[in-house]
């Protein structure tokens, strides 16, 4: 059983949903990333998604675009990233997911990249531009290493496709809440509510369903938990906080924001 599977099992026994936090590695620098990770863990986050910057993040809004640019300009590299993950892994057993774009993995070769990531302590991968049709080499490489492959679905994904994607996924299924890029603040749409209910019914408990994009407040988390998702993913809201907080206050600020979100994941 993977760390991610174990985490979902543990939470379900406690009658809680997962809070997943996304941060960009090296934004604005490595020290800040380490402080942020500490804050996230202290704040009770269940799973951490570490973004690795790509020069052309076409599924991301301005906040993550900017974070990618800053991180790359600061010299973030794959080897350094793996070292950082090892450092984090020494301190904690929290599930760590790498979120980046296909070319970063493809360029090194899926088996080599995934094997090195596993060695460092990464548990799974999210690639927003990897479609199921093109994924067989990637999925096989991940399965060989018993790493989780988290695919995204969207409110306009057909039922047939959801089933196909769910079958190829492990860890959880990532439902993109809105039509749009990351970091768009918006109220909860009716079509999202419907999509969550449909997906939950379709996968029928076989895989947890997480929802992300545009989720930024405790109120949002509360509402999504009530609708019935298994995990809520918050990203750009953390980056906004990181942007305006000096590094020495980061751990504490991140931790208290995470706590305010995590409080809403208990099923009443």
């Amino acid at each position: 059983m993977s760390r991610i599977d174990k985490k979902f099992e543990e939470l379900s026994l406690k009658n809680e949903k997962a809070l997943i936090a996304y941060i960009m590695t090296g934004y604005p620098n490595e020290k800040a990333t380490l402080a942020s990770v500490k804050g996230l863990i202290k704040g009770g986050v269940d799973i951490i998604e570490l973004g690795f910057p790509f020069s052309d993040p076409l599924a991301d809004g301005p906040i993550i675009q900017n974070a990618s640019t800053v991180s790359l300009a600061g010299g973030t590299k794959i080897d350094g990233f793996f070292k950082l993950v090892k450092k984090i892994r020494k301190e904690t057993d929290i599930p760590l997911i790498l979120m980046t774009y296909t070319n970063i993995l493809y360029h090194k070769g899926y088996p080599k990249f995934i094997s090195e990531a596993k060695k460092a302590g990464i548990d799974g991968f999210i690639l927003p531009d990897m479609s199921i049709e093109e994924s067989s080499n990637y999925v096989n490489a991940a399965k060989t290493k018993k790493e989780d492959v988290i695919f995204m679905i969207s409110p306009n994904t057909s039922k047939k496709r959801i089933q196909k994607i769910a079958k190829a996924s492990s860890g959880f299924l990532y439902l993109v809440a809105i039509y749009g890029t990351t970091g768009m603040k918006t109220e909860i749409k009716n079509y999202t509510v419907k999509a969550i209910r449909d997906v939950k019914k379709l996968v029928n408990g076989k895989i947890p369903v997480g929802v992300g994009f545009g989720i930024s407040s405790p109120q949002d988390v509360k509402k999504y938990v009530k609708i019935g998702v298994d995990a809520v993913i918050v990203g750009s809201a953390f980056l906004r906080l990181i942007e305006k907080t000096p590094t020495n206050k980061l751990e504490q600020k991140i931790s208290s924001f995470a706590k305010s979100l995590k409080r809403q994941t208990k099923v009443s």
């Binding site: 790509f54 020069s55 052309d56 993040p57 076409l58 599924a59 991301d60 809004g61 301005p62 675009q65 640019t69 790359l72 590299k77 794959i78 774009y101 296909t102 070319n103 970063i104 993995l105 493809y106 360029h107 090194k108 927003p128 531009d129 990897m130 479609s131 049709e133 093109e134 695919f151 995204m152 679905i153 969207s154 306009n156 994904t157 057909s158 496709r161 994607i165 993109v176 039509y179 749009g180 890029t181 768009m184």
Partner: protein
Amino acid sequence: MRYPKDGRFGEFGGKYIPETLVPAIEELEEYYLKFKNDKNFKKELDYYLREYAGRPTPLYFAKNLTQKIGGAKIYLKREDLLHGGAHKINNTLGQALLAKKMKKKRIIAETGAGQHGVATAMACAALGLKTEVYMGYKDTIRQKLNVFRMNLLGCKVYPVKSGSQTLKDAINEAIRDWITNVKTTYYLLGSAVGPHPYPVMVRDFQSIIGKEIKQQMKKIPDTVIACVGGGSNAIGTFYPLMDTDTEMIGVEAAGKGLKSGHHSATLSAGSKGVLHGMMTYLLQDKEGQIKETHSISAGLDYPGVGPEHSYLKDEKRVKYRSATDAEVIDAFLMLARTEGILPALESAHAIAEAIKVAKKMKKSESIVVTLSGRGDKDVEVVQDYLEKNVKNR
């Protein structure tokens, strides 16, 4: 490679896209397959190509240039004479008509040099569609004439200030818009790049270039030459001639030289990777990050290339070479002075290669160069270059 069902040209192509776009891409493919051989659709497109855009374009024997070089006969396929001044209208009319069939009301596009943006704005104005265009901020400055033209045609232009502020960033931003407005919006991609079915569809709409060359030449030319950025005029030139034994040469932008690192010669100097929905050759660093490119011509300033070109390179069916900024300026001036034609800087890359190869060929042999666009948009860039590089010209 008539119609690659899985969208693959060998190992290249495919569709690497966010899931939100999958239904849109599927819908596009469904409509394209439905209409590409539809009699009425073809008739309508043919009407606009003839009566509106000015097809067929002449195949002009460049006698003076030929004499000056003293080798093979050089013919110019005059896509620069099309409405709007470039081959881009062949594709935008086709796609805009398709968008109408799909009942899409809003069209978005990216543009590099602005030629595709202008051609989109024209086709959409003629067909009653609303257009918005993304253009790298750097390109809005060096091709500002085209920004004015788009505005005058009733099209909104958004300068893109992320990344290298050129064509690749304009494509990123157009894709983000498409993800956000996927239900109402048609993305009118301007080159033979992107996820399947775009590379095939754009190739098919541009193939009119090669088809006409075939009809206009008494015998199949010994060599055809076209410039390659994304590669739409080149694939449109080559594809109908693929079954012949014509030598085909694609010319990329070598910028300040392939060794300088400041170029856009993806096929000459790139490696395989995934960008903008396709697997293809890319200019990238050893970490898989996309490199910033350089070319004097905004339309070739792109770190990727159409996946079919990547395939044709590996199959060795097409030779891919490059021309430096300096060679391009020389070619630009030579064509201007010998034939009275100002070529687009993009097309001047193909002229530069023709000058090189014609010399080595026999007088009885022939070369067709696709002159993909006219150079009015580039006069400021050329003037600026000449002022900074005062030589005995």
